[in-house]
């Protein structure tokens, strides 16, 4: 429960991003290099030009530890890191949540159909999953992102423009389908031979109806446990893609893009990279602990194998 509480707090904080930005009077997506703020009655530039020695370089404002006034300091565009951290969290959470829904939908559908119908259908779907499974996940995600990042996706009437959040959502949603589909297929294979399913088949109930009414409710517990675990995994993937400039595109923020921004400031302003790193670590840990707890609570005997051995 503590893990859930931590995660809910993070979600609430991120949802308050627009309110925080308005209260702080900052636009976290616009460069404000020449902004001057007031701290303790003194005017302080957000970006300070070195005046000593050769006068080389600019240093962004460090953390002021005053909420609403560059609490975590500024990045190299003079933007409020705290405001960007909250907005970034909103995008990271949104992408990981929607990608999780997509993964679960695709994975469940594939697992149900493959497990229930068996035969050629199972062979074809299982091999497709094997192919997807055979690629290193990050390599696959990076490849798909690079292909789509410049021009977007256009399939028939569906067009997703480059820069849209739907691109990382779809890519992350697809690459993790085998992670869900295979355990679901295994469960369906065993349910397929259970008495209540055989009875339904013998009574002539159509397959789709059996899947929907009899089998799906029996895998729901597994799916519920998958939600926090997949979300944690997706959050890590999104951060990695955004860090590599192939996820969320600037000036939009995600925790991954903020780490990337902070990379150029590691020496002078390490907090710009550390803060989103800590946010990711805490969120993922909370989701994993919550997922474990959920699994123990819902079905202590079941063991879900997430990821590869």
């Amino acid at each position: 429960m503590a893990a859930l509480a931590v995660f809910v707090l993070i979600v609430i904080a991120c949802l308050s991003a627009p309110l925080y930005a308005r209260w702080a009077g900052v636009d976290p997506f616009v460069s404000t290099l020449d902004r001057i703020i007031t701290i303790d009655g003194q005017d302080v530039p957000v970006m300070e030009q070195s005046t000593e020695g050769l006068g080389l370089g600019y240093t962004p404002l460090g953390p002021t530890w005053r909420l609403g006034n560059y609490f975590l300091g500024a990045d190299n565009q003079g933007r409020d890191v705290m405001a960007r951290l909250l907005y970034g969290g909103l995008n990271s959470l949104l992408i990981s949540a929607v990608a999780t829904v997509l993964t679960l939908l695709l994975g469940t559908a594939t697992g149900l159909v493959a497990g229930y119908f068996g035969g050629l259908t199972d062979t074809v779907l299982s091999r497709l999953l094997d192919i997807l499974w055979a690629f290193p996940i990050y390599l696959l995600a990076i490849s798909l992102s690079i292909v789509t990042i410049a021009q977007g996706i256009s399939i028939g009437p569906i067009t997703i423009e480059s820069g849209s959040l739907w691109l990382p959502i779809i890519i992350i949603g697809i690459v993790y389908v085998p992670y869900v589909a295979r355990p679901i297929r295994g469960q369906v294979l065993s349910l397929r031979n259970s008495e209540f399913v055989l009875a339904a088949i013998n009574l002539g109930v159509p397959g789709p109806r059996i899947l929907w009414r009899d089998i799906l409710p029996n895998v729901t517990t597994t799916l519920i446990v998958f939600v926090p675990l997949m979300m944690a995994l997706n959050m890590l993937t999104e951060s990695a893609l955004s860090f590599l400039s192939i996820g969320v595109q600037p000036p939009d923020a995600s925790w991954g893009t903020i780490i990337q921004d902070g990379q150029a400031l590691l020496y002078t302003r390490p907090l710009v990279a550390l803060a989103p790193g800590i946010a990711i670590a805490v969120s993922v840990m909370a989701l994993n602990v919550f997922g474990d707890g959920l699994r123990d609570a819902l079905d202590p005997r079941s063991k879900i194998e997430l990821g590869r051995d």
Binding site: L56, Y58, P250, Y267
Partner: protein
């Protein structure tokens, strides 16, 4: 008192200068040791006829020689061209189409072979045989080059490069007078190699050269070792001086952050890459004596695609030029010490440069401040308000931050803008290809040689635009027939009257700037961070730091 001390110090300094030993004595005193250079990565092929990177052009200076060379001197003296393997500057025919060189005697390649007229002729043929990147531009004017470009393998340059072994002369004939032809001959792509050099890209296998040093080991994933050329003797201090270090070890693989730290600890002597921006304050305060800042004849600019909406509209282009705050960009690059705001194409102190800035709050000679009201008005007048604009930038810290800033500016004047950082390995070719429909990008141009045409004609000449090609360096797709004709006129005029040609180039610069085919951002400066032990730092305006002229002991 302070003034007195200063005067005394200045007098002492002058005395020291006066009594300074000649370079030969310095050479005796400081000769030897191993110099360690660092770069994040290698820069491609070792073939001097093919490699077109600043990183290796700098390396090629003490390795290879052409008939002529840029002087290995400090600052702008490095723009002067001197005879190198040729005994003297060429005798030019009255019509300006024939250049005759007399080859020096007694010069050997690092493999012990004598340099002969045959090597010179074969080297010019090889430029075409290996399809050198500038064979179709710099050297396309040589008689017979058209046949060589059409059929590279059987290139003879018949009538173009004529050797007379008995007289030891080489005559190069060009189809029409070219005021920049000597500059082109001084480029690394025209160095002289042994006649039996393979007529294909040698990749990682070093080719013997005539310079003071030779490559003894090379692994593009690890590094390069340069040692003294055992067959070298100094024939011209200006063209190919002897060097100080016995060995130059150039290691690849360290990040810029790690390279700075290595130099601070004395583990390395110099880094090729620019120090990261978040280390600049530290370097500029704690390591002042080890930092060298040198002006560059270079240009950071944002090409606007004149063939795609919204920038096919001149007013839309001018609006962006008015809106961009160059001071902000200068700050993003590292501050006023490292860059200067500009409005025009030709860099300051460059042939043909006359201060001009129409896109500023108070139009005149210099940029003062952005004029957002004027920019918004122009966007309204152009009827392009609300259109989508994507800015393509390199995915590195400085370019990305410039892209993000430009996105902010475009949004503020009424466009729906976004920015796409893409890998620096592909960004330059990506933005050139019209198939990628790039509306706006951020790019840089560093001169090949000091001539106005190298900026204006290359970047905005009609001939530099190629539809659907990765090699269309006129990224804006700008082609104004009248301006193009004026550029050609200036190039022709340069053959007989360089001063008049420069005046014409100044007009061209003004006209191209007015058309706002690109937004001029700033002129950068170069930062060299060197080790404490390194002495005699000389920055050559043409090929940057002359590393073999520095000592490490």
């Amino acid at each position: 008192m302070k003034k007195l001390l200063l005067a005394a110090a200045a007098a002492a300094l002058l005395t020291c200068t006066w009594q300074a030993p000649a370079s030969a004595e310095y050479l005796k005193e400081h000769r030897g040791g191993t110099m360690r250079l660092l770069a994040r990565s290698a820069a491609g092929t070792l073939d001097p006829h093919i490699n077109y990177t600043l990183q290796y052009w700098q390396i090629f200076q003490p390795l290879y020689d052409g008939l002529v060379a840029f002087r290995k001197a400090d600052g702008k003296d490095g723009f002067k061209i001197v005879a190198d393997l040729a005994e003297d500057m060429p005798a030019v025919s009255d019509d300006g189409k024939s250049f005759t060189f007399k080859l020096r005697k007694g010069i050997k390649f690092s493999n012990g072979q004598d340099v002969t007229v045959k090597d010179v002729v074969a080297s010019f043929q090889r430029i075409f045989k290996v399809s050198g990147p500038t064979s179709g531009t710099f050297y396309a004017g040589i008689v017979g080059a058209d046949k060589c470009l059409a059929d590279t393998k059987s290139c003879t340059l018949e009538g173009g490069v004529v050797g007379d072994e008995a007289a030891g002369t080489i005559t190069i004939n060009i189809v029409k007078p070219d005021a920049e032809f000597i500059d082109k001959l001084a480029m690394p792509h025209a160095v002289i190699l042994p006649a039996d050099t393979p007529t294909e890209d040698v990749g990682s296998n070093p080719i013997p050269g005539t310079g003071a040093y030779t490559i003894s080991a090379y692994d593009p994933n690890k590094g390069m070792t340069m040692v003294r050329n055992p067959h070298f003797h100094e024939w011209s201090e200006e063209a190919q001086p002897d060097g100080y270090p016995d060995v130059v070890q150039y290691d690849f693989g360290l990040t810029e952050e790690a390279a700075v730290t290595a130099i601070q600890k004395g583990e390395a002597d110099w880094m090729y890459d620019q120090p990261p921006t978040d280390r600049l304050v530290e370097l500029g305060t704690k390591y002042m004596d080890q930092v060298h800042i040198s002006p560059l004849t270079a240009w950071w600019y944002a090409p606007l695609n004149t063939r795609l909406a919204p920038f096919d509209n001149e007013k839309a282009r001018q609006a962006v030029a008015y809106a961009v705050d160059r001071n902000t960009l200068v700050n993003l690059f590292g501050g006023k010490v490292l860059a200067s705001p500009v409005c025009q194409v030709l860099p300051p102190d460059f042939p043909g440069h006359v201060d001009y800035c129409p896109f500023t709050k108070d139009p005149g000679a210099k940029w003062s401040a952005p004029d957002l009201d004027k920019a918004k008005q122009l966007v309204e007048e152009s009827g392009t308000k609300g259109q989508k604009v994507t800015v393509i930038v390199e995915d590195n810290a400085v370019s990305r931050s410039i892209g993000v800033y430009l996105q902010s500016v475009l949004s503020s004047i009424g466009y729906q803008a976004d920015v796409k950082p893409i890998s620096p390995n592909i960004q330059f070719t990506y933005i050139q290809n019209t198939n990628n429909k790039v509306q706006m990008s951020v790019s840089q141009w560093y001169q090949d040689y000091p001539a106005a045409s190298n900026f204006l004609n290359i970047l905005f000449g009609c001939d530099s635009f190629r539809e659907g090609s990765d090699a269309s360096v006129n990224i804006s797709g700008f082609c104004d027939k009248a301006i193009d004709a004026k550029m050609k006129q200036a190039m022709d005029l340069g053959v007989t009257d360089q001063e008049a040609a420069n005046k014409l180039w100044a007009e061209v610069d003004k006209e191209v700037t007015d058309k706002a085919a690109a937004v001029a951002l700033f002129t950068p400066k170069h930062v060299d961070f060197v080790s404490k032990r390194l002495g005699n730092f000389k920055f050559n305006a043409q090929f940057y730091w002359i590393f073999t002229q520095a000592w490490v002991q």
